[in-house]
Symmetry: C2
Subunit: 208 residues, 2 copies
DNA sequence: GTCTATACACCGATAGAC
DNA sequence: GTCTATCGGTGTATAGAC
């Protein structure tokens, strides 16, 4: 069935409204980065967009709704980044594993509070809505597909992989934010894992 | 020099005072487990020990001081557990690594909020006092000593080990609390790491 | 759509009586 | 040591004027 939409004329009012909502979400990210994900206040958000706190309720039904929008935005962004990597994944197994790991690592490490919101239970009581949650499922399925193509079908080995890469992210953020201490270990960790599951090919590292 | 302490007679008042402080700390753990580490309130703590909130200030100078006492207690407890493991560490390298990893894993997984307080930055702005922090340094030095005896002296390899075990803890707590999904991977992960650093000996797992 | 004013609840911490 | 009373502050959210 073809659906013809009448008058695709721009709705300037709606556009402006959406732009304001986006501004609010951006301001919420800033506030969360300064005060913490659970601790930032609507007053801080409002000030950044030149409003008073109650005015935010014209755009979001609650503080939780703002956090949900942040969650959705973060995963949408990562989905774009991950799609790019998965669409041009190297054919060599170890390089493939390394590319996917690097993409995730860099995205997570680039923004602490974003990582906390996406990957940890940092906001007490927060549960993302189904729409906000959907992109994370899609990305995980891409990973499962890649591992399958590499012959890694055991769910336990899958868990070990995600744990290993997640570990490096956690340690990097917790113990050396902005540094290189754990990032440098990424090829080594991928090699260790590749050896473990019996992937062929030469080491990702130069000669040790 | 020998220091002779006069009159080691029991000071019943001091004992009672200390017991009350311990009660308060216990109540704070309970409150933190229910409301979250950063979110629990002094009122909740006070109610559990049959007091009013202001009375807590007769025992602790601030809410932060209570959290500091919790931090110190947790690491003291772990120090006892770790001392036991390290004092009777198996002579076989892989078993040694596995025993130490298991001790840490089980202690961390047994209590989410305790783990959050000990090993993550879950309380915004909280910095443990030096006395409270000391036991964690002691435990880490024990680990470094063991790895040295096993021939693992590269700091990068040390980091990889702590990241790997820490990762399993995080995943277990975040994705399967109370379950076995990541605990079961512990021997596999230790083996993977042992292979990686070239430790001798048979696999920790039965025949795969 | 944004404002002011305010409701309502709760927080950590202090003062001072007992 | 523990209490009551209270201070000074914060927070989310709503009501109603403009």
């Amino acid at each position: 069935m073809l659906i013809v939409l009448d008058k695709p004329r721009r709705d300037r009012a709606a556009e402006r409204r959406e732009a304001t909502s986006a501004e609010i979400v951006d301001a919420a990210w800033e506030a969360a980065r300064e005060q913490g994900l659970a601790a930032f206040t609507l007053k801080e958000v409002a000030e950044r967009v030149g409003m008073r706190a109650p005015s935010l309720y014209g755009h979001f039904a609650s503080k939780t709704a703002i956090i949900d929008a942040m969650f959705a935005q973060a995963w949408r962004e990562y989905r774009v980044v991950a799609d790019e990597t998965f669409s041009a994944v190297p054919s060599a197994p170890r390089e493939a594993l390394g590319a996917v790991a690097t993409t995730y690592f860099e995205f997570a490490v680039a923004d602490l509070v974003r990582h906390q919101l996406m990957d940890t239970a940092a906001v007490p009581g927060f549960r993302p809505s189904d729409e906000a949650y959907a992109p994370s499922v899609a990305v995980y399925e891409q990973l499962v597909g890649l591992l399958h193509r590499l012959g890694i079908t055991d769910p336990d080995e899958r868990d070990l992989y995600t744990a290993l890469i997640g570990a490096l992210v956690e340690q990097q953020l917790a113990n050396d934010p902005g540094g290189e201490r754990w990032r440098r270990l990424l090829p080594r960790a991928v090699d260790m894992y590749a050896d473990h599951v019996g992937l062929p090919g030469p080491s990702l590292q130069g000669e040790p």
